[in-house]
């Protein structure tokens, strides 16, 4: 009980500020990159905005005792600003969002975390990386990204999909547009669809020695980079990318209020779900407190909570640890939990232990992108051009 009080910050401004302090230090570190010199006033303004923004987010998480709403704000900004800065950088360096055969041969394609699922088997079998990127150096090198992704998977499991992925914010945002879903019931079987995608792309990539998902299926090609259209086949691929983006990332999440792309089509999501099995954090339902109102099953954006899961006292392995079910529970029956500890005990301590590394991850991924995005937007408003 004493421990509960020590960790509980909800409704207490003083305690929330005290618990915010260590995070503030981390925010300073990741928003400045360790250097307190700014090229111009715009950079300083960008730093200040991002610094205040992250501190406010974390303070609200502590003070309100709610997670999802504030997490989502940072997470959506990460996705939108990532797309903006990535596209502008591409156009500045290459002249367009497309890449050519020359770019492929020069191995200048940035390595995205989703490719992780496709490179591991060929790496084991052939000893080579089947992706036209740089191993070290340059923007998003393969070695660096692999270490980050595997490290985050070990630390947070599928929490990566709600706290660190720079694509997930897209359907997280679109799934929040409507107050009520138009399609009210989505078959829970769809939560296993991503595993089928994972199986197919891993196998096809291992056999064709090429990143199948990136080549044929990735919806996010529409907001990053894609092959220059020089043939009917490439045109068809482009149509597939745009159609998948429109349907899985925009239309279906709006209509269902679920993160359809992340839940049903992301192979990385499936891989992260498997890592949930070895990760120390999970979400548990205290059956003694639960009134079986099933509100959590309605709000879960990843179909990870069904009636049978509530009865078992835990969400499916596909849980992204976004905190939406926890926030929605009026009985405080759902909470972050550390495996091996009793369910329903040390609730605030378990929440703090999860929130700190998860939010740090969000800051690490978002800080630089957000500042760069702000600088670009200021440029757009003052000069009328992003370039």
């Amino acid at each position: 009980m004493k421990q509960q009080k020590t960790f509980s910050t909800t409704g207490s401004i003083g305690k929330s500020f005290l618990w915010l302090l260590p995070m503030t230090l981390l925010i300073v570190l990741f928003t400045t990159g360790g250097k307190f010199s700014f090229d111009d006033k715009v950079s300083l303004v960008a730093f200040l905005i991002s610094f205040i923004f992250f501190n406010w987010l974390f303070f609200m998480i502590l003070y309100k005792g709610r997670t999802d709403r504030y997490r989502a704000a940072g997470f959506i900004i990460l996705a939108l600003f990532f797309a903006l800065t990535f596209i502008v950088n591409l156009i500045q360096s290459r002249g367009s969002m497309t890449f050519s055969n020359e770019t492929l041969l020069a191995c200048e394609i940035p390595f995205c975390h989703i490719v992780t699922t496709m490179v591991i088997l060929p790496l084991i079998f052939t000893g080579s990386i089947i992706f036209p990127g740089q191993i070290t150096g340059g923007f998003a090198p393969i070695a660096g990204m692999l270490v980050i992704v595997l490290g985050v998977m070990l630390a947070l499991g599928r929490g990566f999909c709600s706290w660190g992925c720079f694509y997930g914010g897209w359907d997280d945002a679109t799934s929040r547009i409507l107050k009520k879903p138009v399609i009210k019931k989505v078959n829970p079987a769809f939560r296993w669809a991503a595993f089928a995608v994972l199986i197919i792309v891993v196998i096809m990539s291992a056999i064709s020695l090429g990143p199948t998902y990136c080549d044929w299926l990735c919806p996010f090609k529409a907001v990053t980079e894609f092959e220059k259209v020089t043939s009917t086949i490439i045109l068809m691929k482009t149509i597939v990318f745009v159609s998948l983006f429109a349907s899985l990332v925009i239309i279906l999440p709006v209509l269902t209020k679920k993160r359809i792309q992340c839940t049903t089509f992301c192979p990385m999501g499936a891989l992260c779900s498997l890592s949930n099995k070895i990760n120390v954090f999970d979400v548990r339902i205290d059956r003694e407190k639960c009134s079986s109102c099933m509100k959590c099953t309605t709000v879960c954006p990843t179909l990870s909570l069904e009636k049978s899961d509530v009865e078992k006292g835990r969400p499916a392995m596909t849980c992204m640890k976004c905190g939406k079910c926890i926030d929605s529970c009026t009985k405080n029956a759902i909470n972050y939990h550390i495996k091996g500890t009793p369910v329903g005990k040390n609730l605030t301590a378990a929440r703090m232990l999860f929130i700190f590394p998860a939010f740090t991850l969000l800051v690490i991924f978002t800080a630089g992108t957000m500042q760069q995005g702000i600088i670009l937007l200021v440029k757009l408003f003052t000069t009328g051009s992003l370039f």
Partner: protein, 220 residues
Amino acid sequence: MKTYYFFFSNFTFMTEGFLLGLSTGVVCVAYCGPVLLPYLMAESRGLKRSYTMVAVFLAGRLTAYLVTALLAGLIGQSIVQQSDTRITLMGIVYMMLSALLIIYGFNHFKEICLGKNFAETNYAGNKKFPYLMPYSGGFLTGINICPPFLLAITGAIDSGSVTGSILFFFFFFLGTSIFFIPMPFAGMFKRQHVLRIIGKFAALIAGFLYFYKGLVLLIS
């Protein structure tokens, strides 16, 4: 040198067959495996015996595949290769079969597995010919008319030669067989319903990819 030439000239058939087998193997195990499993487990004594039964069952499947491959190869060599509209024809066939695979993935169909009744059979001959049932079960499962099997036939015909067809089916067999290896470990089927769902989705995605292949053939 001849071996190298043979290997590289048939590499496409081998990889395509293997790939198709791997991508549809989950469906094979998810739908036919659990039906056959009770028999295999009931008849067996220990893991070694279980593996023997699975091996005999797979031998039955291989026989069925090789017979089908021979027929498909002969058809491919004699009729399809000589047609001027071969590519268009194959494109249409691929699209139709992949559409079937997509429907197969979407629908809540009752599994049609020719080998299903053999799991329930318990006749006196079992003791005299212990391998007859798993072998014939494997054979019947092998010629089971399901979309992956039809796609494999199309791929084999498309190869245009008996050798290509046999290699295609042999590697298709290897691809699907990987999923049968853990069968003696019955614990794998604790989450059988999840495996079925994943198998259905895998069939759907494979269907879309083959639909795309057909479309590319038609366009090119």
